[in-house]
């Protein structure tokens, strides 16, 4: 009988420090994945945790990991050539085809950028498949900015607002919450918009409120939820909200569906 809980080995091809506590590992993996899906990543002896896929190509997957606990501390000790253990991918991920020919706005807060990074890269490469493309990225401070090199590249291709909640004097860029920048997008209510919002729960809440005020309708908003997934396959119950399981029915939800889900 096949056992869905057994992880497989995945070799670390390279890694890159994003911030003091965030690191992106590129692992060898040719399992087909979608942006927005996640793997259950583990090290035998240290435990297992859900990690979203920040990017991928045919034979590798990027996992951006924040060092916040026992497992991640152990993972951060690994070197290139060492192995991680993975199961997955799990969850639905973003439906790229459904976003084509839209005026796409992506609003990401903090580590919420990781699950949506592949979507951004995809449409930067296929810019002609969108009517317009705006990006608002928010981080706590300049030190918390993830994927800074890539953000620079995006800036050369599309309109990007990069803001930090609080910056030292040396920070020359924008400051303030992502919500403050929504009105600068000049949204003209219309059927073509799709807005992806990813980030911590409060950020999602206030961002959607602001979007609605600016002419976006509820059915144009897509969000991705973070929960404490454990099994990834609809068994352990940890990710249940209302009658939905984030690991099966999400993590990507239409806002219309998600707004009535109460934890």
């Amino acid at each position: 009988m096949s056992n869905p809980y057994l992880p497989v080995e995945a070799k670390i091809l390279s890694f890159k420090d994003e911030t003091d506590i965030d690191r992106t590992y590129r692992i060898k993996c040719d399992i087909p994945v979608n942006g927005g899906q996640f793997f259950q990543v583990s090290l035998p002896g240290a435990g297992e945790a859900p990690i979203s896929i920040s990017d991928f190509n045919e034979d590798s997957v990027d996992l951006t990991i924040r060092n916040v606990g026992k497992l991640t501390t152990e993972i951060f000790k690994l070197k290139v050539g060492d192995k991680l253990f993975i199961r997955g991918p799990y969850g639905n991920g973003f439906n790229l085809a459904g976003l084509e020919n839209k005026k796409l706005i992506v609003i990401a807060g903090g580590t919420g950028l990781a699950p949506v990074k592949n979507v951004i890269n995809h449409f930067c490469k296929n810019r002609d498949k969108l009517k317009s493309f705006d990006l608002i990225l928010g981080f706590k401070s300049p030190e918390d900015i993830l994927f800074s090199k890539e953000i620079e590249r995006w800036k050369s291709l599309i309109d990007v607002i990069l803001t930090v909640d609080k910056g030292e004097k040396s920070w020359k860029g924008d400051t303030g919450l992502v919500t403050e920048y929504i009105k600068t997008l000049g949204i003209e209510a219309g059927p073509d918009y799709s807005v992806i919002v990813v980030g911590p729960p409060v950020m999602i809440k206030f961002t959607t409120m602001e979007l609605l005020k600016n002419g976006i309708s509820e059915n144009q908003i897509i969000i991705s939820l973070e929960r404490n997934m454990s099994c990834g396959i609809g068994k352990c119950g940890h990710c249940k909200i209302d009658s939905r399981y984030v690991c099966l029915d999400g993590p990507v939800f239409d806002y219309i569906q998600a707004k009535n889900l109460i934890d």
Binding site: G45, V68, H238, D263
Partner: protein, 339 residues
Amino acid sequence: MGYRLKPKYFDDVLSALSKHYDIMAPALMPFETRHSAQEVVGYRKIESLKEIVVDKKTFFSPKEILFPPRETMFYFTDSKIRESEYEEKNKIILLRTCDLNGIERLKNMFLNNGDVKDNYFKRRFESTKFWLIECDDGFDSCFCASMNSNKADSYSTAIKFTEEDILVDSNDNMFSELFKSYGVEEDYKVSFIEKNKLEVKVPLSENINPAVFEHDIWQEYIKRCIACGRCNTSCISCSCFTTHDIIYDDNKRRGERRRVWAGCHLDNFSIMAGGHDYRTKNGERMRFKTMHKIYDYHKRFGKHMCVGCGRCDDVCPEYISFSKCINKLYDIIEKENDK
């Protein structure tokens, strides 16, 4: 077919079957808490009729036979993974209608929630036969009829324990020959309870609205519930678990990944990496459990998760009554609806 068996012949049937099956039934077992050692009725392997207890409800449900409180998922040595072996004997579980329905509820989660099946549950479930114990008039805290769990048909054999004899109704070829050779044919068909002493009114799904989630009714549980999780562990339909890695030997990194029961009333159930917890107040947890038992699960699977076994009421050290909670909720919702 129905049969009547004398106790000593029923014992012969049990001992004949014991060669191939572990027969699990309600029986007295030692139970130690921090404060006392006593005997409670629980599930264990039995060999004879006299061990079976039918005049009391089991304190723990039979779910632990199919879904043990703690289970090795696999072993690892120096990062090499080895699956745990399954060496258990086939089983017969003697259980009541509510619990058989409860096991159907577990089955929905483990086998039918998403495309992937839980192999650990599956192999146990598939090697188990269910023998239904007919209820006379149930126990004080039972409310199976209110939950539509007072009837079942997925049993292999039904049994009625009478003062003198044992009546069985078996359509299972595995057993009917045996009953036939040890008993006499009799026209027995299992009957079900139609009404419990306790009646619980379950609010209609379509009347439940987001306002109910914020209602004051949950406030009282913030203080009263001590988050001991007993209501979860005793519940036949609670199926949540968490996995842990255990190291036996640090040098060689030898150990196992195991899963253990988890419960929505316990601390740490809804905590995320980084520390955010979705439900910190015990009132919120009571609300979460209640809604799952009588609303969310039904939306997903078409049946209520709670089967009305009443064990959560029996075991709560703070005398919190789930059945009362559902009734209170009903009154609030119906009142709202009348407006």
